[in-house]
């Protein structure tokens, strides 16, 4: 479902992008060119989970389990209207209306979809702020 991206290529910060729907095209486009794809989180790395796309009800448990597996200190980003609050489908019983229904969320990025730069800039601020940025 997702890849583990060594965003700056130095093992300092990894992004786990849970690509669920159309927003994932934009979040993928934000990834720095040549950023290594890892199979596991390196020791000591800051972990950022990005939820990009609609959370369909049948995958809700999978999404929650995966985020939980990344540890309590994971910085969770809801990327796009669907991940923030359910987007155009907010009143549908087939979806979960927002990542906040499943886990803690540290940062919400609006848009349907948002521009890739919104994610790239946030990840850079996280690195610069030592993870203290919301």
């Amino acid at each position: 479902m997702e890849t583990c991206i060594d965003w700056f290529g130095d093992g300092s910060l990894v992004v786990v992008d849970l690509s669920l729907a159309c927003c994932a095209v934009e979040s993928e486009f934000a990834v720095p060119e040549g950023a290594p794809r890892l199979s596991a989180v390196p020791e000591g790395a800051q972990v950022v989970a990005v939820i990009s796309g609609t959370i369909a009800a049948p995958v809700a448990d999978l999404v929650r389990t995966r985020i939980d597996s990344l540890g309590e200190r994971t910085h969770v980003v809801a990327f796009g209207a669907c991940a923030c609050a359910g987007g155009p489908y907010w009143d549908s019983s087939a979806i979960v209306p927002g990542t906040g229904r499943l886990t803690h969320v540290d940062h919400l990025i609006p848009g349907c979809p948002p521009p890739p730069s919104a994610l790239a800039e946030h990840v850079e601020r996280l690195r610069d702020g030592g993870g203290e940025v919301t």
Binding site: G98, H107, I109, P110, S117, T134
Partner: protein, 127 residues
Amino acid sequence: MNNDDRTTPGAPTPDAATGHGSIRLIEERCTSCMICVRECPTWCITIEAHSEVLPDEQGHHPSRQRVRTVHVLDEFTIDWALCMYCGICIEECPFDALEWAGPHVLGAADLVGLVHDRHALAEAGSR
């Protein structure tokens, strides 16, 4: 590291290309008619307004039994956590009180932070 420019050197970013980053409310044009609220596909606009009787003879005229009132806007919000940037509100507003403006709405730490009030919307694009 902004990879929006990975395509063609010098190509505009998506924001700049579409100009659809945020929506500005031009309050003095808004009549609180609620058309945008009803047309928005995601119901992410809210309006609060009250009626006021027009001053003097405009409101109370001896030739009319009924008083004439006008809607006065009290609050106007857009919930950016739900907005799909479709522009229907802008298209449908009969008074051109909404327009595309400025860079993409900034992210926030919680859902409340993505609800922009009339003051924030009036300033969209000027930051």
